[in-house]
């Protein structure tokens, strides 16, 4: 990875991953421990990022929040990547009615703004971590599916695929062993941008009170709670916002870098 910005992206993402994995060991205090004496306290030696309205340690909540955000986005991107890619490959390979039906379903999902769709479903299902994952998966697969469908359409006419078919290689093997490895590059690039997108939508939902439940620390939810005390303690909403911005920036930079590295033609 040559560019400085891509390296910066990689470093930000690596830090996030490490923080998320070791969150329980890194958090200096119990993120759920109330201490009303310390409500709205600014940064201090014991509490580096200060305390929230209930006196809970902001740093510990930020660290646990990283785990929630990253966990949800890894889950959503992982599930949608697998389901979407398989559906796209099958649609592109089969063509005809299957492909037309598939394209219509994709068009319908894309006719909804993704964020509105998430709000609509969340409004009816109610806030919970599992619901957020389900909601983001319902629409998230479309991006990967359209990508792999397009790739399959162009790859299936290539000589190596024709050669495989002519010597009698079975279709599932062609799809998984020959087609899929040839589209890994764009899929990985999209996964990186997808992570940025999922973190943004998840925190937006939590900000609206429709994402992660209030008792689970999440960056979007922390901004929402913080804005109620914007004039008294602005750090409550500013700190989680910077974290979201850095992480989204990190995944976007990483995606840019990976694209330049893996798929230079798409630049």
């Amino acid at each position: 990875m040559k560019s400085v910005t891509a390296k910066a992206g990689l470093i930000i993402v690596a830090i996030l991953v490490l923080v998320a994995i070791f969150a329980p060991h890194l958090a200096p205090q119990d993120p759920g421990a109330y201490n009303l004496d310390l409500a709205f306290a600014g940064p201090s030696r014991q509490h580096w990022l200060g305390n929230d309205a209930d006196g809970r340690d902001m740093l510990s909540r930020m660290i646990m929040g990283a785990r929630v955000s990253l966990g949800i986005s890894v889950g959503v991107v992982g599930i949608t990547l697998i389901i979407g890619s398989l559906m796209g490959i099958v649609a592109g390979w089969c063509g005809g009615v299957v492909d037309r039906a598939f394209s219509f379903v994709c068009d319908v999902f894309l006719a909804f703004p993704g964020f509105l769709f998430a709000i609509a479903v969340a409004a009816f299902l109610g806030p919970s971590v599992v619901n957020v994952v389900i909601i983001l998966c319902i629409r998230g697969w479309v991006t990967f599916a359209r990508l792999t469908r397009g790739q399959t359409l162009s790859l299936k006419e290539r000589e190596f695929v024709q050669a495989g078919r002519s010597i009698g290689v079975r279709t599932p093997r062609i799809l998984v062993r020959h087609l899929l490895p040839n589209m890994i590059g764009p899929i990985v690039v999209n996964a990186s941008f997808g992570m940025a997108g999922v973190i943004m939508i998840e925190s937006s939902l939590s900000f609206l009170g429709l994402g992660v439940p209030v008792d689970v620390p999440s960056w979007g939810g922390m901004i929402d709670q913080g804005t109620q005390f914007l004039l008294v303690a602005p750090h409550l909403s500013i700190i989680p916002g910077i974290a979201i911005m850095l992480v989204v920036l990190g995944f976007n930079l990483l995606g840019d870098g990976l694209r330049d590295m893996l798929a230079p033609r798409g630049r």
Binding site: F104, D107, V108, A111, F112, P113, G114, F115, L116, I119, A120, V121, A123, F124, L125, G126, A196, M200, S203, S204, F207, L208, L210, G220, I223, D224, G226, T227, L230, L231, P234, S237, I238, P240, G241, I242, I244, M245, L246, V248, L249, N252, L253
Partner: protein, 305 residues
């Protein structure tokens, strides 16, 4: 052209139908009984039966569905459970606030981003170019629900220039429009820059320069006109997304639009209004995309109709 518009209208109908179907079935996706959720499990039986009847939930699903679609066409979108007023009336009251907010956000974004993108492309590699690109990268990554409070702190609390919230004066529109338009501005600036860089390389630009035209004329009359087409497409597609993004800006600034109505109704479990708001925003999204698609083909005669 006319044929194209008609054809495009027909492709939009199944999409609208599918969107309506999804919205209809959302109320049936509620875990448990919607009536329990709205009234609470301790509600008396008579109230429960009355509400189920009013919402049509006592009828078979197929019948409810047909009635729902019929209502959409005839303008009967149901009544609010909260204040018993027709959903269309509530939406009608709030619609213009969201429209103006989205329009201003788009204007702010276009007015800031296109000159910035053009200038960055013309001075590619310069400090200005790097500054624009860095700012746009940050713009894409900043969550609007963070930018809004920060703008309030800066311009309303510290400087006292603009109102914190509400819709009392034309000034009230400035901060919500910037909050909503920032990400779009970042996207347009990047797109304008890359599109302009491509155009400036072309032979007609060299010809225009060798004819002795002024640099301004070459850039704005020749290159920008061609570079602007992909930008128009993206702006059009994003206007719809602005309508959805407005929900957040409206919450931050207590802006009395459709987004606030949606969030208030979600909090009150006023499901007919929730359905109505989601439908209204989605329909607007589909229509805006349709119009953009047609405009794009008018703006660029090379696109065959």
């Amino acid at each position: 052209m006319f044929n194209y518009v008609i054809k495009r209208l027909f492709t939009a109908i199944p999409v609208l139908l599918a969107v309506s179907t999804i919205v209809f079935f959302l109320i049936h996706a509620i875990p448990g009984d919607p009536v329990d959720l709205i009234l609470g499990e301790q509600a008396i039986a008579a109230d429960r039966v009355e509400l189920a009847r009013e919402m049509g939930l006592d009828r078979p699903v197929a019948e409810q569905y047909v009635k729902f679609l019929g209502g959409l066409v005839t303008g009967n979108w149901g009544r609010s459970i909260f204040d018993k007023r027709p959903v269309t009336e509530l939406i009608g009251e709030r619609w213009s606030a969201t429209f103006w907010l989205a329009l201003c956000a788009m204007l702010v974004a276009v007015a800031a981003a296109i000159p910035a993108g053009v200038f960055a492309a013309v001075r590619k590699g310069s400090v200005w170019d790097q500054l624009t690109m860095t700012a746009s990268l940050i713009g894409i990554s900043v969550p609007s629900f963070w930018l809004g409070p920060v703008l309030i702190l800066l311009f309303s609390v510290e400087l006292g220039w603009l109102p914190i919230s509400g819709r009392d004066s034309p000034h009230s529109l400035i901060l919500p429009a910037i909050t909503l338009g920032a990400a779009l501005a970042a996207m347009i600036a990047r797109l304008t820059r890359s599109s302009m860089i491509e155009e400036i390389k072309r032979e007609y630009v060299t010809t225009a320069r060798s004819k002795g035209l002024s640099e301004n004329s070459v850039i704005f009359k020749h290159a920008l006109r061609n570079a602007i087409n992909p930008v128009i497409t993206i702006v059009g597609l994003q206007v719809g997304a602005l309508l959805a993004g407005a929900i957040i800006a409206e919450k931050i600034f207590s802006w009395p639009g459709l987004g606030s109505l949606l969030m208030e109704s979600i909090a009150r479990r006023d499901y007919p209004v929730v359905q109505g708001c989601i439908l209204a925003i989605s329909f607007a999204y589909v229509v805006v995309n349709l119009v953009t698609d047609c405009l794009y083909r008018v703006a660029d005669p090379r696109v065959k109709l």
